[in-house]
Symmetry: C2
Subunit: 314 residues, 2 copies
Amino acid sequence: MVDIQDIRDAAKRIEPFARKTPVETCGTLDRLAGREIFLKCENLQKVGAFKFRGACNAVMGLDDAEAARGVVTHSSGNHAQALALAAKMRGINATIVMPSDAPRVKRAAVEGYGATVVECEPTQEAREHNAKVIVERDGATFISPYNDHRIIAGQGTTYLELHEQVADLDALIVPLGGGGLLSGMSIAARALNPDIRIIGVEPQLADDAAESLRTGRIVPQRPPRTIADGLRTSLGTLTFPIIQQNVDEVVSVSDEAIVCAMHLIWERAKLVVEPSAVVGVAAVFQEDFKARAGMERTAVVLSGGNLDLSALPW
Amino acid sequence: MVDIQDIRDAAKRIEPFARKTPVETCGTLDRLAGREIFLKCENLQKVGAFKFRGACNAVMGLDDAEAARGVVTHSSGNHAQALALAAKMRGINATIVMPSDAPRVKRAAVEGYGATVVECEPTQEAREHNAKVIVERDGATFISPYNDHRIIAGQGTTYLELHEQVADLDALIVPLGGGGLLSGMSIAARALNPDIRIIGVEPQLADDAAESLRTGRIVPQRPPRTIADGLRTSLGTLTFPIIQQNVDEVVSVSDEAIVCAMHLIWERAKLVVEPSAVVGVAAVFQEDFKARAGMERTAVVLSGGNLDLSALPW
């Protein structure tokens, strides 16, 4: 299990490589939400997403013999870029298994960081199979996007920073897909600020986590339709129990609310954020949320800023 | 004349109201520029532009009798919003004279801050005349967007912050329109870091400043065509001599280079910046600029982030 010491160790390990991201505030946002909102800007993290923290922790924590054999993952999202850059920084090989229908721009980004891309059929089975083949062939270390202790500890460092940057937080709101960021941050938050209210937010069109918590078992994701493409994954076997234990509630937001929140963050906070990054902002605008007592000082994590600027949803 | 002490006084005056903006870095930018670039993010300033610093300094520096009679300016740009918000914070009236062809969204923004908008014919004469009428009628204080000692001192606070945030800067690159930001920052920079190289950047389609420096007299702006709408003004009688004295050179960039730099800052630095804000970034990408020795550590000011998100130039 991951504990606060693992997260402190991760913070030390990634400190020379990762960015300490700023916390921004926005008067318009506070007025609309009816409380003080602190935006933890992981869109300004290396590779434009919090994913770099976990990938960097995993790569930098390998011993030299392991590192020499390289790392591998299957992903077409921010984790792929994060792992590619972390491997480049360590001077080792990264192989990314990508579905053949992945956007060219994502493939180019990963190759830009010097990683090897292996194409496969666009199915989960093909992705896993191809990654396994590389692990067996090269002795490379497989690094999951979220279901890995090193990743969870790395993502948890986001809360360590936030805790230094903003005093007396009442609530923490985190986007929820596979659960790596939420589980990691929740461990640090419970250790440093036991009474903080911890809320995960998922798209209504990908609300498997709420159902998983309700039923007590991991529910697979529905077919991906939400615009929040980073949150289309289901919970992992490692992240689920941490979230069960630490998280007070999971709320969901519509795609319309996501687009609206994204426009507001671009227009008023002047930050480029991707749809998945703003589910927490969409949540604090909901009427029932605004009506709640407490949570005067609420932190909302903006998880990333990678998207196609030529295809904006407005 | 404005000196470093005026700028320190301004910093103290605006400190409770203005934001201390972060400095961001970006690996891609450093590679493309061939040097270390530090982005001073005034797009994250209140109202989304450095203009708030000067307007706030001017408004907060009024004595109570002056303040009670309100403030007035003519502008359809960021200065209008900045003055409106500063006046709102002090609890006094602001009247903004705006040409009748100003975009509705800009008018709405100013009214959103509680200011009174007075429409006039879209000519410089009509703008000045209408502002003068209000000064005479109400005894309001006229606050120019840049040709005012209080404004110059306020904008100069940007350098005080930057100086604390980044050690050993070799060069400072600042967008140049009316010259308020460049003149203010240059005073602080010469006082705190006498050997720093100070460079103003203007659009090729609005390169009146270079010609003014060449000929030794203020050359009026050409008809406004550049996409960098915040830089379409000519130098002021107060800003020109400061720039003559402190600034090492003025360079110009094409509109194509501005759009390209803007896309890069959005895509890689994840910051929403307006065309006027990125002329400095466009400058550091020019081949002759990259070839220069020295300037290992160069600060570039991103001056603002206000633009219509539904009409992007790509």
